[in-house]
Structures are given as C-alpha cells and as structure tokens.
C-alpha cells in the first residue's frame, strides 16, 4: 500500500503524470470515495476527486486559486479507502498543497509562525533549543544524554518537540523513561542536539525547511552509534519511515507502543495496580492508518488489569482525525475563520458518547487537542485524556 520511494523520488506536479504514480492516477474511476472520506471534504471547492480530474485534464492550476488543499490534514483516510490505491496523501495532495501555500495571498499567521519557529529554533512552538532536555531534570530515573556520554547505545529515543516542551507531553516522557528503565533497556536521548523531525512543518518534501531539518538530524545521527530509534510521536515515525528514507536514512525506527509490546512478557509482572477505568482508544492517523498499528495499542491497554476498552463509532481504518496533521495543528484559527468545525471537537463527541472515563491516545498532539476539545464540549462527566504510556506507568505503581 505504501508508495515505492523510487517511484516518486523527485517527482513534481509537472512530472507526476509520467511517473508510476501517474499511471495509478490515470486509473481513477472518479468514485468520490476520497472526497467522501475526507474530514474536511465538504469545505473544499476541489476535494481530492476533483484534484485528480484536474490533473488528468492538465488543469491543475485551477486548484491553486483556492485554499482547498490547505485544508488537507494528512489523515490518510482517502488514500486507505481508494479502490485504485492511489497514494493521495503521500504524493499528489502534498504536491498540490505545497503550490497552494506558495500561491496563497497570505499564509495564515499561526502556520507561518510555526514554520519559522521550526526553522529558527528546531521546534514549532518557538522554545529555546537549549531548554529541550530540561524535562530530564524532573524525572526520578537516570536518562543518558548522548552529547554528554557518547558511548554506543542500543536504543536512541527521539523525543520530539511536543513531548519535550509541552507540559502534558513531558508527563508522557516521564512515563516512558520510567518504563524503559524498569525494562532494563539500554537507551539514550539526543537532548538539546535534537531538532524537530520536521513532519508537521513539512507541507511538502520539496520545502527547504524540510531539507534543513532532515540534513540536521541525519548529521546528528551519524555522530553516534545506536541500533534502533524509538519515538512516541507517530508523526516523527512517519517522517523517518517515509521522508527521511528518500534522503538516504537507513535506520530502524519503531513507535513506543509496538516497542513496548515487544517486551510485554517482561512488563506484565511489573504491572501491580488494577485501574478501574473504562477507556476508549483514539487511533492516530499516522500510527494506525499509515503504519498499520491498530491492535498493538489495544493489546497494551488490555494488559492492564481492570481496564475496560470501549470502541468509538469510528475506529481503526475508519478513525476520525484529530485535525492536527499536515499543519492543521497551527491552522485552528484559520479554520475557525472559515466557519469550519474543529475536527477534535467532532472526535471528542464520539469519545463522550462511549461514556468512557479515559480517552487514551498514542500521539503527543492529541493530548492538548482533546483536552481543549473537552473544555469546549462542556462535558459534565469527568473524562480525562491520557497517553497509553501514562496509563502503563500508573499501573506499574506499587
């Protein structure tokens, strides 16, 4: 399903029609599954189906006169349901989005700022890069930072920006550190040397910002010896798995959830506490739809005694995006100005409908987005948003 990198290396909108991907695009039957699956399809003048038709007829320029593709949140819903297996999210829509942003009269300020911050500070929130590893001081377990101790290490933990700087992200980090330490994993982080992997600032793989961050992180990786990389951010996972490989990255990258599942037999005896929560799990687009991890997060949750798992209406391949991908994290204000519903608001209503105590997530964007949405929804029963790692850590308490 995932596109062959060689098939699209270096393609642009001008050359895509002659590429192997172009052959797929020619087979489009205009069924509209893409537009119907798109969470913002109803707000687009040119939803994915029409983008394909424009391309087929050589009229793609028309799409740049609108902001349609700016509304694409990279959720992979269209791509995963496409009966012709056209790699919409991975290839075509990215290219159109890039041109859309270039030709917009005004780039939405929030997005502009996030992109600039990524470029200047290596994180979209504009925090000082020198504070990136500050959260380490708040943990009780030892965490090795490679710049201080560059000995070879088994597992390099790529922390990413939201976990490193956002207070709720830091909660997840502390939980992960505790679990890795308890499992006896030989791990280390890059600390202040790390910069954003670039996925979310990456509106297209051609952008200079993307290349700058890719070059930077690749150079840092080459300084140290490690066997594999783990991360709790599915967007970073996607960046390394997909974009970085186009630039020659050859490492092995695993999301924290499947990584912990590899050690589940060792972990289980360390789980002492029964958590009497009913939990509903939100499939992150990048972790689930794009990388196929639907069952591992559920299996990890079920390994915690007392947890009752309830599914939302939309789950697994049919999950509803939180709206944070593809730059959506920094377009909430813009979308609101267009009278568009915030996708996290849409999703939180499904979570509330389950009556669960906890909304479990496995992506750092989702905690602030859903906590915010919960406030807006005015839900009177108490529901909390937690990363799966926080729940595991809680269950490990004596």
């Amino acid at each position: 399903m995932i596109v062959e990198l060689d098939a699209i290396r270096g393609v642009s909108l001008d050359t895509i029609y002659d590429s192997p991907e172009g052959k797929l695009i020619q087979t489009c039957i205009q069924c509209g599954t893409c537009s119907g699956s798109c969470p913002y399809g109803e707000y687009m003048e040119y939803p994915p189906r029409r983008i394909i038709k424009l391309l087929q007829h050589g009229l793609i320029e028309k799409a740049f006169d609108t902001d349609s593709m700016l509304k694409c949140v990279n959720c992979y819903a269209c791509m995963m349901k496409c009966p012709r297996e056209i790699h919409l999210t991975e290839v075509l829509l990215q290219l159109v989005k890039e041109q859309t942003v270039i030709k917009l009269p005004v780039v939405p300020a929030e997005l502009q700022k996030a992109l600039e911050n990524n470029y200047r500070y290596g994180n979209p929130m504009g925090e000082s890069g020198r504070k990136r590893a500050n959260w380490v001081q708040t943990t009780t377990v030892p965490i090795r930072i490679l710049s201080q101790n560059p000995e070879p290490v088994d597992v390099l933990w790529f922390v990413e920006s939201y976990p490193a700087f956002h207070p709720r992200g830091q909660d997840t980090c502390r939980a992960i550190a505790k679990i890795l330490n308890a499992l006896g994993i030989d791990f280390a982080i890059l600390g202040n040397e790390e910069k954003s992997a670039g996925e979310c600032g990456l509106l297209s793989w051609e952008s200079g910002l993307a290349e700058a961050l890719v070059d930077y992180n690749m150079a840092i990786f080459s300084k140290y010896k490690f066997n594999r990389i783990i991360t709790s951010d599915p967007h970073a996972l996607d960046a390394f798995n997909f974009r970085y490989k186009m630039y020659g990255f050859k490492g092995s990258i695993t999301h924290i959830v499947p990584f912990i599942m590899e050690h589940i037999d060792k972990l289980k005896p360390m789980i002492h506490k029964t958590l009497g929560y009913s939990v509903t799990y939100h499939d992150s687009c990048c972790l689930g739809r794009h990388n196929g991890y639907y069952e591992e997060p559920r299996a990890l949750l079920k390994s915690i005694p007392g947890i009752k798992l309830i599914e939302m209406v939309h789950n697994r391949i049919n999950t509803l995006c939180c709206g944070g991908g593809g730059g959506g994290m920094w377009l909430d204000t813009y979308f609101k100005s267009q009278n568009m519903e915030r996708l996290s608001d849409r999703r939180i209503r499904e979570a509330i409908d389950t009556g669960a105590d906890v909304l479990a997530v496995a992506c750092p964007y989702e905690i602030p987005r859903f906590e915010d949405a919960l406030k807006v929804a005015g839900y009177d029963k108490k529901m909390v948003v937690k990363d799966i790692m926080e729940l595991v850590s809680e269950a490990m308490e004596e």
Partner: protein, 670 residues
C-alpha cells in the same frame, strides 16, 4: 521417375499471422535462411498459413514437389497443429511427417527486438527441420468413451446441464455438497429483469432432476478422488451421513417437532442466519430431496453422547439412524461438468460499511431472504431491531472494483440492486437511494429495467459510499448515516437511512484451489476456473473431457449460467456421441529383443500401463493406458523402451539443430 529417389524433401512455411508474427520477425530472412538448410526444397512465407489458400499451398507443394516432410512456423501447436496435420494427411502424406514451430506466442509476442526475434525464429526453424527428418509414419489409436457423465454442483448450472444430458438419454450422476440441490438461485426472491419468481421457475426443474430416471442425485456428498482421462474417468464420491435413511424418510417432519430442542436455536444457513433451525431440519420447504438431515455439529447426541433421542422414537418408519456412517461410491464416467458455483463477498471485509457492527446493515442475499414469502419474516421487511425501514440505501460495488478486495466487476450486482430497489419499494414504500460508481446494465431488456426503476422513483446517487455510521441525532441511534460524495452535484452528502443494503460481489469458493487440483483444471489467481479459450472454448478446460458451467468460471447472471450449462452439456454430448477419442500416438513401446525383463519399469508407470509377461519374460505396455509421460523410457537400463514422436534420434537432432551442430549433410529416407 520420382523426384525423391529415397531423399528427404522438406517443405518449410512461415506464417505472417497478419502482423502478429511478421510485425516482429523478418519472415523473408527466415525463408531465405531455411532454403539454405539441408533437405529443404520449398521455403515460403504467407499472410495466413491457416487459411484455405495457405493449406492448399502446402498440399499443392506436397504433390508437385513430392515433399515428404512439412514444417510450419506459425502460432502455438495448441491452436493449429491439428489444422496442418489434416492438410498434410489430405495431400496423401502421413500427418506425423508434419512438425510445427511456435514463433508467435513464444517469440513474436514476447520480444521487442526484431533482429533478435528473427534470429530466434531461425534457430527454432533449424531445430524443427533437423528433427522432422527422423519422423516416422504413425497411426492414431482410438479408445471408446464411457457414456455416463458426472455433474459436480447442484445449483442452476448443474441442474440444467444434468437435465439436458438426461433428456438426451445419457446417465448423469449429480453430486451436491449440501443436503439439497437448488444453489443460490433457490434463495433468491425474484429474478431480474423480468421479475419471475425464482422458486416458481426453479422448483419444477429441481423435481425434474429428482424424478428423472437417468439422473442419480447424490446430495450431501462430495467428490473425493478423480482418476483417469477423457472418456475414462474413475470417480470416488463420499456420501456424508445424514443420519436419516433415504429410502424410509418421507419428509413428514415429525422428528423435527420431536427434537429435544423445543425451540430452533442454530444458524439457519438457507436464511443466512436470519432465522434459526434445530439440529434436525429440512433446509427449506421445497428442498430436494425432501429428506431431513441431522447436523452433528449442533446435535446434542453427537456433542455429548447424551440425549433421549426423541427424534428416533418419533419416526414411525424408523428412518432416523444415529449410527449411520459415510459411504463411498465408485463410478466410471467419460466426461465431467464442474459447476461448483460462487460465494458472496464477505461484507465485513469492508470494515467501514459496518456489516456485523450495525444490525440494520444487510447483505443483498440477506435481503433476498427477507423479502421472500417463505423467508424468515414471511416476506415482510422487518429488520433485526423489529422495525420496518422508511428509507433504504443500496450500496453498490461492495468488495468489487477495489484493489483492496477484488479487482473485478461482478456484473450482476447493478441489476440485482435495481431488482431489490423495486422489491423493497413494493414491500415497504420506503425511499430508496442507490449509491453507485457506474450503473452497468448490458444485456437483453436490462437497460429497459434500469429505466423502469428510475420511473418508479428510485433515487440514484453517483458516488461510492465512503462511510456508514449511526446517526447521533436519532435518539435510539438506530438510523444510519451514509456518507458519500455526490460526484454529479459535487457535494459531500450525508443521507440518514433506516436500512443499508450492501450489494456484495461474487467471489470464488474458499476451496476452489482444492477443487482445481482434484479435477486437474486451472484457476486464475483470484480462484475462478479458467476456460480453455475465453472466446472460442468458453466451457472447455485445459483437461479434455472436463467442462465448466456457471459462476465457478466467473461471475454471471442466471440466463448466462443456463446458456453455459447447456453449452457444457452439448460439449459432453459431442464427445459421447462420437463414441471414441483419438489418442496422440506418443505412446511408449518395448523393443522386445532388447528387453531383459528386469521389471524395473513396471512399478514406475503412474498409469499402471506396464505389465510383465511371464511367458516371454518381457515387459508389455498397454497402449490404451499409456499417457506418453516418458518415465519408463528414461528409466529403462537397457534402453529398450522407445516412445513415438520422442525417439532418441528425434530429440537429439532437435537439440543439435537448435545448437546449430551440423551433424548431418544428407539423410536417407527411411
């Protein structure tokens, strides 16, 4: 005086096949080259060698140039070897003095470089010209064909083929896996485009099968083993125990009434699980034969060994036999018709359509049962939640035309969707929305049917359904929202409906691969059996004497299935009425003076064609049984077994020819 004077005189011809060959291979160059080869006296090219003028050219040359060997480079021998052999023999030359070179399928069609392709053609031609020198005149043997026919599968295809053959006076064995014949057609309510009641047109044929003196109907039975070859198949059939003695059961149903399960509680296969049955049951009212069956998977006696056996007691005729065992029947037939049918696509595989999650999402086959007067609701459209729908979405192409599931269009779904739209509207007066990608209604009266549905007010929305989920604005969350892009209005629409019908495509049966192996036929990667030629041999298989009918070959509607079943029956009849088949004379024979009688070949023969003559102390090969596999030839320690058409000198000269070893200057005619 004869020109041959004991010499080999070869005529060589290369076919253009329009541009199929000549577009790639330089035929003039091949002709010029062939004319330089030893023994070649005629070398020509022609636009279509298989045409009458082409064949006449060969015949004229045989007579005038006194040719005694013929080589034609054209298409596959599979297509035209017989044509040229006939032409050769009609000119008075033994047909086995002919040799064919495949320069189309194995050359022109698969190569792009004309020069290399021409070189390859010349190599192949040299090889054949080298080989044909050593050919010998051979005679074709004939073996009689057994007139009985095996039909596998008792759906409408198997039923129609059986009746056609039986009415022509042939004895037919009809083997059906489940307890009744009728197949999927028996489950349908009405049939498109004429809206005939399926049962009304099918059940007379079912009872005709049951009562026909020429048909032996074995239901609840499976073919276990097939041996032999065209005209002479040996088949072993397993008759599974019904736990009912066929001859005694009169279908009174007293045993069902008497069963210790007072209420039916098990999945009723015929009604797609929309109703329940007991462990002892009649599949449906018109089931043929009218025999009950006891299902050992659900019967408490078979599961625990403890039961009052009230069914046994209740039967006045003592027809219930819980100790019944499987029996095996061995039959000999000359031809076989495979009509094993299809299964509907498993709708739960398209996860986002909610089948199996939301009770009011139905498959089309379930709806057939729901609107059928003899169905679980007696024809009233009452859904799983007890309500009657006021609005219904029919979702086309479920599992079809989709790389994630099946690539093919199942051909019947558009039309059965239209039919269901009509019937559901008739039963419920509901608003009906058809979500489609393309409406495909080819065939007689089919598009007229589409027009009629439009006139009846069925709504058509062009867009493949992207999502189905419960309507949260509906208090009880019963109603479902169907989301799609209406690609013609260019809007994303969300249509709230009470019921969703998934028009699932047709897929091969799960065991298609096992069936393929059993009958030594072929199937495509998706699992439909492959016909010998898509246009010119649509019911034949690559195994002589085995024919295909119905959806096991690919999705098709009832008229096409019946037409194909008739065609398969006609093909079988053509063989049977000829009475014999000609065998390729590629059999092995013993050179008795050299045979040492070591017997090593006897156990090696896969067809048990070799016996040992105690008197002569020599091996003996039965030509009628020999299939020409060559195993014995290769194994004989004294080299005293030879095989017609594949004698050592023929094979060696063919190899020398292709390697361009110029081992002979002139050969002497034998």
């Amino acid at each position: 005086m004869s020109k041959t004077n004991g010499k080999i005189r070869i005529g060589f011809y290369i076919c253009h096949c329009g541009t199929n060959i000549a577009g790639t291979v330089d035929v003039q160059k091949v002709v010029d080259y062939a004319s330089t080869l030893p023994n070649v006296v005629v070398s020509k090219h022609y636009k279509y060698m298989c045409s009458d003028p082409g064949q006449e050219m060969i015949q004229k040359d045989i007579k005038e140039q006194e040719l005694n060997r013929v080589v034609v480079a054209a298409c596959s021998p599979f297509l035209h070897e017989r044509t040229f052999r006939n032409a050769t023999s009609q000119a008075g030359l033994n047909q086995f003095y002919f040799q064919m070179v495949n320069t189309r399928e194995q050359n022109a069609w698969v190569h792009l470089d004309p020069e290399a392709s021409t070189d390859k053609a010349m190599d192949l031609v040299r090889s054949a010209i080298s080989r044909v020198v050593f050919h010998k005149p051979l005679e074709q043997k004939t073996v009689p064909i057994k007139p009985d026919v095996l039909v596998v599968g008792g759906g409408i295809a198997g039923i129609h083929a059986s009746l056609t053959l039986a009415n022509a006076g042939k004895k037919v064995y009809l083997v059906e896996r489940v307890p009744t014949i009728g197949g999927h057609m028996a489950m349908f309510d009405k049939t498109f485009p004429t809206l005939d009641c399926a049962a009304c047109i099918l059940t007379p044929k079912m009872s005709a099968v049951k009562n026909h003196p020429n048909i032996t109907m074995w239901t609840y039975s499976e073919v276990e083993k097939v041996e032999g070859y065209v005209g002479n198949f040996k088949v072993k059939v397993k008759r599974k125990p019904r736990y009912i003695i066929d001859d005694l059961c009169v279908g009174c149903l007293d045993c069902i009434e008497a069963c210790v399960y007072k209420e039916p509680r098990f999945h009723d296969e015929f009604n797609q699980g929309l109703s329940k049955r007991k462990p002892v049951y009649m599949p449906f009212p018109q089931a043929t034969p009218q025999l009950v069956v006891i299902d050992p998977e659900t019967c408490i006696w078979f599961k625990t060994g403890k039961c009052k056996q009230t069914c046994v007691e209740s039967c006045e005729r003592k027809a219930v036999d819980l100790n019944q065992q499987a029996t095996y029947k061995e039959i000999e037939v000359g031809t076989i018709i495979v009509a094993t049918g299809f299964k509907p696509f498993d709708a739960s595989k398209v996860y986002y359509y909610g089948y199996g999650t939301y009770p009011n999402v139905y498959t089309a086959l379930e709806v057939e049962r729901l609107i059928n007067a003899s169905g679980p609701t007696s024809g009233e459209v009452i859904m799983r939640d007890g309500s009657t729908p006021k609005s219904i979405a029919i979702v086309h192409c479920v599992g079809s035309r989709d790389k994630n599931t099946n690539l093919w269009c199942s051909r019947v779904c558009c039309l059965y969707s239209l039919k269901l739209a009509h019937l559901l509207k008739e039963h419920t007066h509901a608003d009906i929305y058809n979500f489609y990608i393309d409406i495909r209604t080819p065939g007689k009266l089919m598009d007229e049917f589409y027009t009629r549905m439009a006139e009846e007010g069925v709504k058509f929305i062009r867009g493949r359904v992207a999502d189905i989920y419960p309507d949260t604005s509906d208090e009880e969350h019963r109603r479902l929202v169907v989301k799609a892009e209406d690609t013609l209005i260019r809007e994303i629409i969300k249509v709230p409906v009470d019921m969703v019908v998934l028009s699932t495509g047709l897929v091969p049966r799960d065991d298609a691969n096992d069936v393929r192996r059993l009958f030594n036929i072929t199937c495509s990667t998706e699992g439909f059996f492959i016909e010998r030629h898509p246009k010119l041999a649509p019911v034949n298989t690559f195994t002589d004497g085995i024919f295909l009918a119905g959806c096991c070959q690919g999705p098709k509607d009832i008229p096409d299935t019946v037409a194909q079943a008739g065609a398969a029956a006609a093909e079988a009849l053509a063989l049977i009425d000829l009475g014999y088949i000609e065998l390729e004379p590629n059999t092995a024979f013993i050179v008795e003076e050299e045979c040492s009688g070591c017997k090593s070949c006897v156990p090696l023969c896969p067809y048990s064609a070799i016996s040992y003559n105690e008197e002569k102390k020599k091996a003996n090969i039965n030509e009628a049984l020999c299939k020409g596999c060559g195993t014995c030839v290769a194994s004989c320690p004294s080299g005293s077994i030879k095989q017609n058409l594949f004698e050592d000198e023929e094979i060696y000269s063919e190899i020398d020819g292709i390697l361009n070893y110029n081992i002979y200057e002139e050969a002497v005619c034998c």
